[in-house]
């Protein structure tokens, strides 16, 4: 069987876990084996049902006091124990922070390879295409492992329920965990923003070096507000201290997926582009008609953003 490791927050299944189940279902099909799921620190009926709806035939639940909240070491130890005892043909998780972290922990404990952020996996010979450079490059690898441990690249598949959903069997997986593993469990949570975040905003107004200063972002803020969106920025901007890093779009920032990304004064370097390419549409505002972002955008305005952005806001207000 193929074992899909499920990320959850205790109540709801993470999007990355539903992606892993979708990716895993297809991979298990090619392997000719059933898909099972690992539900760590939880046995909620709703989570089991979601796993079943996405094609898991058996859900292995692991409960233990150390697992009462997420912790990379304890979760990794559970996955390692499952590999030893259940002998899956492959283990898969979503390519999120947690998915990659837990499988790396498990791989380290088992002393086996771990291939992060796979896009395409051929189980016949375990040749794999995976993400490098945050998606700017792809790498073909061949994997030789007792058991392949893989994550699928975040959002590389759209999560979909199975055509024939399973009513999964629940099997309790008894784990004996060292209480000391609680040392890496979450101790506390700080909630900063409820509501629209950069990664889920329907509109993002992005500013780059061309904005010129922290104050220069005021017109971008105004336009974002008019459109119910969020302000994003390039690394040149965070490096200059004009915006907090939480606003950065790109390889080492946030991946956005809005209906439209309005990119002003941004050249469109590849590391920025990989964070922006999930946008359905892109409108570039740039002085340079040859800028990379202009040639990749759906629409462009050639001009000074300091004049163009306020004019767009004024036009929106005039029409309302």
């Amino acid at each position: 069987m193929l074992l899909a490791v499920l990320e959850h927050d205790g109540a709801a299944m993470a999007e990355a876990a539903r992606e892993a189940l979708t990716f895993g279902r297809a991979l298990a099909g090619r392997m000719g084996v059933p898909m099972h799921a690992a539900l760590i620190g939880n046995n909620e009926g709703a989570l089991v049902a979601t796993a079943g709806a996405h094609g898991a035939e058996v859900v292995h639940t692991a409960l233990h006091p150390v697992l009462s909240d997420y912790g990379p070491e304890a979760w990794g130890e559970v996955v390692a124990a499952m590999v030893r005892r259940l002998a899956p043909g492959a283990v898969l998780a979503g390519g999120s922070d947690r998915g990659n972290e837990v499988l790396a922990q498990a791989a380290a404990r088992l002393d086996v390879p771990f291939v992060a952020n796979c896009l395409d996996v051929d189980p016949a010979d375990w040749s794999i295409t995976r993400i490098q450079w945050g998606g700017s490059l792809l790498e073909d690898v061949s994997l030789s492992a007792e058991v392949p441990l893989l994550t699928c690249g975040l959002h590389s598949v759209a999560a979909e329920t199975a055509e024939t959903p399973a009513a999964p069997t629940v099997e309790e997986f008894a784990v004996d965990l060292d209480a000391a593993l609680a040392r890496t469990a979450v101790r506390d949570r700080v909630v900063l923003s409820a509501g629209v975040t950069l990664s889920t905003a329907p509109v993002v107004v992005g500013g780059g070096r061309g904005v010129g200063s922290a104050e220069g972002f005021a017109p971008l803020e105004e336009l974002a507000e008019l459109l119910g969106g969020k302000v994003g920025c390039s690394r040149a901007v965070t490096n200059n201290g004009w915006r907090p890093h939480a606003d950065q779009v790109g390889q080492t920032g946030t991946r956005i997926a809005p209906q439209i990304y309005i990119a002003a004064g941004i050249s469109g370097a590849i590391q920025h582009w990989v964070g922006a390419m999930g946008a359905k549409h892109i409108l570039a505002v740039n002085l340079d008609p040859e800028a990379n972002i202009v040639t990749k955008a759906d629409w462009a305005v050639i001009g000074d953003l300091h004049e163009v952005i306020p004019a767009i806001s004024a036009e929106i207000r005039a029409r309302r």
């Binding site: 390879p113 945050g134 073909d140 994997l143 994550t151 080492t252 439209i260 001009g303 306020p310 029409r319």
Partner: protein, 254 residues
């Protein structure tokens, strides 16, 4: 505090990344090199911690001999020691890299005492394996958490913050510990005049190290297919605003 920060030398590409004709490497013919961004912030975090609590920062890198440049850069922004585990510059797989780094850290600890904190980048900018730091920490028996965007030292404890969609998770690791940090944890400083002098004076220590290759072998690098796009130019200057707003109206985002 004794802190060891592991960094990787990576090419610094611009608008696109080109691959050599044989598909075996990034074409670096016209590129500079840098410390991978997460680790650049890792060095800054380490230096800030020793400024606040005393102690020394050792920066460790495994890579081509030219990676000594990145150690000198680290010295120019406040790191005290630089250690290179030289390779032929080929891309080592994550298991091999982690084994060699683990051995190097053991050697450094035997000589100078244990490190209170090991700092890694969450993932390298190029190969992005998401695992070397975790493998080293597990081999050394240290608690390790990744995705860290805030570190405080509280007695024997490292309090670390990890960004989530809604805010932060807080972890409390007993030292000796390890963390994987992300860009945004701080804004790395620029080298000062004094820093540049320190970097010139840095004696890069070399540690021989190798390990058997792991199970993941690179075959070929290639660029993802690019969707051909035709850009519609809506106009020049502020006069284009009405056409822009027409587009926004068509998309239903007004």
């Amino acid at each position: 505090m004794r802190i060891c920060c592991c960094v990787k030398r990576v090419p610094a590409p611009g608008a696109r990344i080109n691959v050599t004709a044989d598909g075996q490497a990034v074409d670096v013919a016209h590129l500079g090199f840098a410390v991978s961004p997460h680790e650049e912030c890792g060095v800054e975090a380490a230096v800030q911690l020793t400024e606040a609590h005393g102690g020394e920062v050792t920066v460790l890198t495994l890579g081509a001999p030219e990676a000594a440049e990145q150690l000198r850069y680290a010295a120019s922004v406040g790191a005290h020691h630089g250690v290179l585990v030289p390779t032929d510059g080929s891309g080592w797989d994550p298991q091999r890299t982690a084994l060699a780094l683990t051995a190097a850290i053991r050697t450094l600890e035997e000589a100078g005492g244990p490190f209170d904190l090991l700092i890694f980048g969450n993932e390298s900018a190029d190969s992005g394996g998401f695992q070397v730091g975790i493998r080293v920490a597990v081999a050394l028996g240290r608690p390790m958490v990744g995705g860290i965007k805030g570190i405080e030292i509280d007695g024997p404890t490292v309090r670390a913050r990890r960004e989530t969609d809604a805010g932060f998770e807080v972890y409390e690791l007993p030292m000796p510990a390890a963390v994987g940090v992300k860009e945004g944890i701080n804004l790395p400083r620029y080298p000062t005049m004094r820093g540049r002098l320190a970097s010139k004076r840095l004696e890069v220590a070399e540690l021989a190290g190798d390990a058997l290759p792991g199970g993941q072998a690179m075959r070929r690098l290639h660029r993802p297919a690019e969707a051909a796009s035709e850009t519609v130019i809506l106009g020049t200057g502020p006069g284009a605003a009405p056409s822009v707003v027409d587009v926004l109206a068509d998309l239903g985002v007004l």
